[in-house]
Amino acid sequence: MTAPDAHREPTTTLAPTAGPTTAGRPADNRFKILDATIKRHRRQPDALLEVLHTAQELFGYLDRETLTYVGRALRVPPSRVYGVATFYNFFSLKPKGAHSCVVCLGTACYVKGADRILAAVQQAYHVPPHGTTPDGQLSLATARCIGACGLAPAAVFDGDIAGRMTPAAAVARIAPWMPHDQ
């Protein structure tokens, strides 16, 4: 298993200042990519979701400045940008941890006892569902089915789907990400 630190800039996830209105700072490539996406959609207001998807991929989450920036670029009022960003579960307005664990709570996984996996991870690492550990190492989330129902119960660790999970296996899979005194 490889930790994705290699391609993750250290400031991506935790520095709240990484907003796009940081004029005068050394040019951040990520804004260029965001601008390219906006331009590709010809600044159409309809492209709001696409642009927010890109922004979240680039910055890890959507902070206030990013939302304002996107709104201006697409000529969409802040109320609508905020309304869309909060309507969809995918968009996160808070920074996420360095690693992520998503436990599926869909029907197939529920029938196979997914709640015990969630409880075990929560307990082992003191992290609430949809929360992040205080040291910023782990974000825990739940999903409504990731389409791996044939392998239920399933979970996703840093983007990799793992089927036939057990509470112990989930806890073990996260252990290498965490400081050793846990």
């Binding site: 869909g106 029907t107 197939a108 999903a143 044939g150 392998l151 983007g159």
Partner: protein, 553 residues
Amino acid sequence: MTSDDLDTVRARERAAFAAAPCRLAVCTAAGCLSSGAGAVRDALERTAADGADSPGLRIIGTGCLGLCHAGPLLRVFRAGAPDVTYAHATPDLAAAVVRQLPDGRLPDERQLPAMHPFFAHQHPVVLENAGRIDCERIEDYVAAGGYAALQQAMTEMKPDDVIREVVASGLRGRGGAGYPTGLKWSTVAKARGAGKFVVCNADEGDPGAFMDRSVLEGDPHRVIEGMAIAGFAVGAEQGYIYVRGEYPLAVSRLRVAIRQAERMDLLGQRILDTPFSFRIDVRIGAGAFVCGEETALIASIEGKRGAPRPRPPYPASFGLWGRPTLINNVETYANIPPIIRSGGAAYARLGTERSKGTKVFALAGAIVNTGLIEVPMGTSLRQIIFDIGGGIPDGRSFKAAQTGGPSGGCIPASHLDLPVDYEALAGIGSIMGSGGLIVMDDRSCMVDVARFFMEFCRDESCGKCIPCRAGTVQMHTLLMRMTTGVAAERDLTLLEQLADMVTRTSLCGLGQTAANPVVSTLRHFRDEYMAHILEHRCPAGVCRMPRAPERAS
């Protein structure tokens, strides 16, 4: 590229195909990949390259072979010999297969029996290419007869002829409601106004369902072809596929497929050198169940909050950006190429009186063979669960099958012989839904199942209309009272009244069907509710009732 050029490509690919007497197909759907299919494929390729004595050997990454729980699956096709399928394939096994191929003696370990009942009872139409083609090569799809239906429509048929075939096929929408597809197409075709749209609903929000994901991952060109034919039939030049954000692999395979089709003039300007142009763009959902509802989906493509609106006007007359819009499900489009190729009448010979063709189901839960299956409409639940699915594991007994997800219901053992079609399922208080079929054994508590689905609907209600927004919260609270052992009989009365009210007064399908799991479990498992309420006891032993009043025992 013209239609004749495409014929040339097809002939060339078929010749190459015939010259390769052996194919090794690894399932590279998301399920098998997570079980290690990538390493199996690497081992196949490495060993084949080392040996260099395996002419005519082709290694392909293919779409879902169906038996997900036994992944990674590896299937060997040899000219003149029956296919062999390996379950739980490992890199070592893969290497052994390649090395032993020249002598024709394949390893015995992990082979599935030749006529494994899981495969023997199926009838693939939508999934006909699973295992046979490489999901990232358009040439494979073309060689297997792909895009022949589009060619035929463009060169030999008028839009009306296409619609006539779809009507004759009796195909009904596979997204859940079962609306006749031919009727929908002719309504959009007749709608006045330029700039019509064709939309593919790949939101697959029903938890426990992964049919659409498998089709998009394994055979994306089939959906593209279906949409292009639809565009031709209704007079649209632009299509959108709205895919769930949870399906990154499906999105990337789809994007690859669209680029390939554009390069071969099967999408884009002047398709196959005819006056018809059709583009497809992919839109990615952002994790909202309600966006599977067609008017909410339209709002989402327009970059807005995914809130539904009252119908009429239906999208067929007033859809995306106010234009006439055809919306169909992934599996609906995937049925179109075979219908055009062999004719609507041939398709209509499969299935029952009012439900034609086949249906893909995703089997999950307490069942031995979890995975993806396709059977003719009218197949009984018993055949699906016991013959194909292999029955219930761990020596437990069947309790209920859940179909239709949060809008559906639970079917008890007494209805196992029911032929599965739209009317039969509706008749016993469930729905066909999109094809998720979750089996529950005696360890599932039906009251808790109802609570589970109500929690889902409560969380996913968009909040626009009050019956759904407030009603789901109240029903969930009542169900929580039951599962924690503090409910009284009047809570049940209240629950039934609320269920009726929310069903009748909600704005969209989400609220109108949110009470279905409650109503159907009450209908078939009322005694379990009564045990929770009167005796503060959970017969299945699922609900913990720490706050329950002392029980005299």
